[in-house]
Every structure is written in structure tokens, then in C-alpha cells.
């Protein structure tokens, strides 16, 4: 198996895709958004309960490939309990990581487990899978609605 493939489907990704965290509805959700990838049918509904300036709870539902599921799982884990500003910063860092060149260094310190998704950079067709959950988060925090990854610039 190619190194790139092993990197893409590393242990943590497979594990999160098979047992995603926070794949559930959120009681008392006050922010929600839907994300779709029209070209492959991936679809995610994201719910958040924001209390003050904090993400008090977050969960997702929907269907998608291993990458998009693992990304949603990791994303929800990463933003849970964070302030909105911190969540936004993470969005930016994640976005920068997946759109960087495949051999660019990745800051584990800033991204933590999210760094496991750096493997998509070698698979341009899959970057959208990794970023769907994040775009949906962005939409939910920006006021909700629907997003579609098609022709997103990454």
C-alpha cells in the first residue's frame, strides 16, 4: 500500500469513522446548519448549543465517507467547550492545513488530533470530504443555513 494511502487512512481516522464521537442530535440546540457535497452525496447536519460565547454542546448527523465522518467526529471533539473565537481560530488553522502543500509541516501543537487529517493533502479530490464538517460549522456559527462544498476554493 502506498505511503500516502496509509497516511490518509491512518488508525485514528479509521477508528473515528467507525465510531464517530458526537454523532447525535443536540438537546436545546440554538445553532444549526446543513452541509452537502452535491457531487458525491455526502451530507451532514450540524447542531450546536451555544451558551454565552461557548460551544456548550455540538453533534452531527448524516452520511459520508470515512474522511468526512472522521473529520466531523474530530471537529466536534475539538470545538466542544471552546469559545466561539477559539472555534473560529481552529477553523482557520484546519483550513490552512488541508489547503497547504502535501509536504508542508503540520503544527501538532495547534491542531492536536486534527493533524491526522493532513493526509488528504495528497488527495485533492478528498479535501472537500475533510472540510465539509468545518464549512458547516462555519455556516452554523455565522448564522446557519446550508453550505455546499462544490467549487469551494480549496
Amino acid at each position: 500500500m502506498s505511503g500516502a494511502l496509509a497516511e490518509l487512512y491512518q488508525q485514528l481516522i479509521i477508528e473515528h469513522s467507525r465510531s464517530p464521537r458526537n454523532q447525535r442530535a443536540v438537546a436545546g440546540a440554538n445553532r444549526t446548519a446543513e452541509g452537502i457535497n452535491p457531487l458525491c452525496g455526502d451530507q451532514i447536519t450540524l447542531q450546536l448549543r451555544v451558551e454565552g460565547d461557548r460551544v456548550a454542546d455540538v453533534g452531527f448527523e448524516g452520511s459520508g465517507c470515512a474522511i468526512s465522518k472522521a473529520s466531523a467526529s474530530l471537529m466536534t471533539g475539538a470545538v466542544l467547550g471552546k469559545t466561539l473565537a477559539e472555534a473560529d481560530a481552529l477553523f482557520e488553522q484546519f483550513h490552512q492545513m488541508v489547503t497547504s502543500r502535501a509536504d508542508a509541516p503540520v503544527s501538532d501543537a495547534a491542531l492536536g488530533k486534527l493533524a491526522a487529517l493532513a493526509g488528504v493533502r495528497a488527495f485533492p479530490a478528498r479535501v472537500k470530504c475533510a472540510s465539509l464538517a468545518w464549512h458547516t460549522l462555519h455556516a452554523a456559527l455565522a448564522g446557519g443555513g446550508a453550505v455546499s462544498t462544490e467549487s469551494a476554493t480549496e
Partner: protein, 408 residues
């Protein structure tokens, strides 16, 4: 079976690479690769005959026009059409269907009328009818599909009972591989006075087609799915229908006389070809038809069908594979899901072994919803594929299973 090793030699992109690997292209339902003959025909056209057609008094323009009209005649012969005037060149199937939905549809479909499509139609044979029916306040009736992947005849009969204006269906399903009983469906629709459009995108490349025998009213196809250049394809229709239809796009070539505020139209098929046509594409398509006839169209159909059945058998050796569509007679399209691994992941993984398969909804979201899956993996075979390609595919799928720790 065709000698695919021999056939592959005609396709530059399929040559073995410097790393000893070759491209195992199994996405033929999306688009096909091009034989050298087609690539050369396009090149030669630009190197020796390129000009705008129909309006030129000089020899070069005459040559371009003759090539273009020869291609039209060749298409008519290839699909058993009523004559060259029944062939309107379009960019492909989608444009051809939009032409019918807009020109014929807006002239014939009124409030309260119905139009029938099937749950196995490609979005290109669905959205144009949705748009028409919405505009006209007509009803779009979608006929169901049986668990075996056939058009549900009972449901069709109930849809026909309402006396629809038009019935549209795919000759061959791009998502299931089903070969529909087209002649029988046409007969049933005509009995209730409906016009019939056959989406031939997956038929023209793969089966002998005889439109006069089928007796359908409209037939749409794409050249790029039958070894021809991108941008080639057409609508083939009964001349009397074309004659009576209003134009689709307006512009050069399609007019007879033009005044400031009105115009009269050119003869068919020119009435429907506004603007400079893609002569190079038509010339390349002609070469593609020659190539396919050289292989023998019965042989092509048998080759694909045998590969599809072979692939289904081999997939059956893996635990946790579900193959969609009919088991018996079918085209070279094999849709499946495997071991709970998302088709997208499968496609990425097998690509590492040089295998190109498609993952997704195959432009058939209503069908996916009925199948109860968000997406399938799809291997679709053509003249340059053989059983060794299936071997590599199966091996690559086993690797995917190992990666995802799925037991097979």
C-alpha cells in the same frame, strides 16, 4: 470476447506507463477513452480542412461542410434513423434532452398534463422535465423500479392510464446496468398517445440501435461516451416532429430570412443548430463510429456483458458485497457497495492500484434514495477492458477491506 490487449494498443492513454503499470479505466459510463483514430481525425481536421460550414463559397469551407454533413449521415446510419435530417448535433445527451423539453415540451405540455419519467433516469433526463412541468403546471410522474432493477411495469401502466404527453426513459441505466425493453415501452406509450424520448447515452456506445424499428420519437446520445470527442453527440428525432417544433436557440445558421423584429427558420436539422457547429467533434465522432463498427457492435455488447457478469461473479466471492441491478442480461455497468466501506473511500483506495472507478450517486439521486444508499461504487466496462482488469479490481478491494479491517 474482444481481444482487449490488442484493442488497448489503439488507445494511447492506456499504454503501459514507464513504471510498468497501466491505467485500468473502469469509468466508461462517465466518459470513454479515445482511440488514436479519433484523436488523429480531430487533428487532421484542424490541419487540413478547418473552416466554418454552410456559408463558405471557397473550397476549404466546402470540404468542412461535406465532412460535417457526412458525419450527420453516418450518425443516421449508425442508429437506424429516418434520414440525415433527423440528426441534430448537440454537445451531448443533456443538451439534446433540454432541446426537446424546451422546444417540443413548451409547445405541447399544458397545465394539467403529465410527463412520465422513471426512477432510474439520469438527472439529465429528469431535471429538464421537472423544469418544464413546474413552468407549465403539469405533473411529473416518476415510475418506480423493481428490486431487480427493472422499470416497474404495473406502475408504468398506472402512469400511462393518465394519458401523459410524453414518456422518457433510459434505454440502458447508467447506475444499474439494466437494459430496458425499449421497443415494448415505446409501444405501450404510443398506445396511449404519448410521445417517447429515449435517453440513449448508455445505449449508443454499447448496443446495436435501430431507431426506425424502435419507433421512438426522440433519441439522445453523447459521443464522448462512445469513443468520440467531447462536445459531440446529438438528438435524433422523427423529421415530422422536428419540422413542427419551434426553434431552440436563436442565431446564425438556423435562420432563413431575418428582419428587424422577426425571422423565418431554416430547414431541419439546421433550424436547431444555432451558431457555429463543432465540426471537429462531428468528424471525430465519425471516426469513433468507424472504429466501433470495425470491432462489431454485437461483439462490443457481448464483450461488455460478459465482463459485467464476470465482475459480478468475482465480487460475489467477497463477503459483504451487494451488487445492484439485474443478474442476467445487462450492460457493462456494475454498481455495488462493499463491507460498509463508503464508495468514496473504495475509489480512492483502488485508484492506488491504477483502477479508476466512480463513487457517488451517478446523477441518479432519486434512485439512490430508493436503493437506500447514499452512494454506490461503480465499475463500468468497455472494449479495452478484460478479465485481468477485474482481477486487479478485486485485489484492490481486498486491500481496502484489510485497511478497514473488514473480513471478506
Amino acid at each position: 470476447m474482444l481481444d482487449a490487449t490488442r484493442v488497448r494498443e489503439d488507445f494511447p492513454i492506456l499504454a503501459t506507463g514507464s513504471d510498468g503499470r497501466r491505467l485500468i479505466y473502469l469509468d466508461n459510463a462517465a466518459t470513454t477513452q479515445k482511440p488514436r483514430r479519433v484523436i488523429d481525425a480531430v487533428r487532421q481536421y484542424y490541419e487540413s480542412s478547418n473552416a466554418n460550414v454552410h456559408r463558405g463559397a471557397y473550397a476549404l469551407a466546402v470540404r468542412a461542410t461535406e465532412l460535417y454533413e457526412a458525419a450527420r449521415e453516418r450518425v443516421a446510419g449508425f442508429v437506424g434513423a429516418w434520414g440525415p435530417e433527423s440528426v441534430v448535433f448537440t454537445r451531448g445527451t443533456t443538451e439534446a434532452i433540454n432541446l426537446v423539453a424546451t422546444s417540443w415540451g413548451r409547445a405541447h405540455v399544458r397545465a394539467g398534463d403529465s410527463v412520465v419519467v422513471t426512477a432510474m433516469d439520469h438527472h439529465s433526463n429528469l431535471i429538464p422535465w421537472q423544469l418544464l412541468c413546474r413552468e407549465r403546471e403539469a405533473t411529473l410522474r416518476m415510475v418506480g423500479v423493481t428490486p431487480e432493477g427493472a422499470i416497474d411495469q404495473d406502475d408504468l401502466r398506472s402512469a400511462l392510464a393518465r394519458g401523459p404527453r410524453l414518456v422518457a426513459f433510459p434505454f440502458v441505466s447508467n447506475a444499474l446496468g439494466t437494459i430496458n425493453p425499449a421497443a415494448e415501452l415505446v409501444r405501450m406509450a404510443h398506445e396511449v398517445g404519448a410521445a417517447v424520448l429515449i435517453d440513449g447515452a448508455q445505449a449508443a456506445p454499447h448496443l446495436p440501435v435501430d431507431l426506425q424499428a424502435l419507433d421512438c420519437d426522440f433519441f439522445a446520445f453523447s459521443g464522448h461516451k462512445m469513443l468520440g470527442p467531447m462536445g459531440s453527440g446529438g438528438l435524433v428525432a422523427k423529421p415530422a416532429l422536428l419540422d413542427a417544433m419551434p426553434p431552440y436557440q436563436g442565431g446564425g445558421e438556423m435562420i432563413a430570412q431575418v428582419w428587424d423584429d422577426r425571422a423565418t427558420w431554416n430547414r431541419i436539422p439546421h433550424k436547431f443548430e444555432a451558431g457555429t457547429p463543432n465540426v471537429a467533434a462531428a468528424v471525430g465522432l465519425m471516426a469513433a463510429m468507424d472504429y466501433l463498427d470495425g470491432l462489431g457492435r454485437g461483439a462490443v455488447a457481448a464483450h461488455e456483458s460478459a465482463l459485467a457478469r464476470g465482475a459480478i461473479d468475482r465480487l460475489g466471492e467477497l463477503d459483504g458485497v451487494r451488487v445492484f441491478g439485474p443478474r442476467g442480461d445487462r450492460s457493462g455497468v456494475v454498481s455495488f457497495v462493499f463491507g460498509g466501506i463508503h464508495p468514496h473511500d473504495l475509489a480512492t483506495i483502488v485508484d492506488q492500484d491504477g483502477v479508476c472507478i466512480r463513487a457517488g450517486h451517478h446523477c441518479a439521486q432519486p434512485l439512490m434514495r430508493r436503493l437506500g444508499v447514499p452512494a454506490t461504487a461503480r465499475a463500468s466496462f468497455y472494449v479495452y477492458n478484460d478479465v485481468s482488469d477485474i482481477d486487479v479490481l478485486i485485489g484492490a478491494l481486498r486491500k481496502a477491506a484489510a485497511l478497514f479491517r473488514v473480513s471478506v
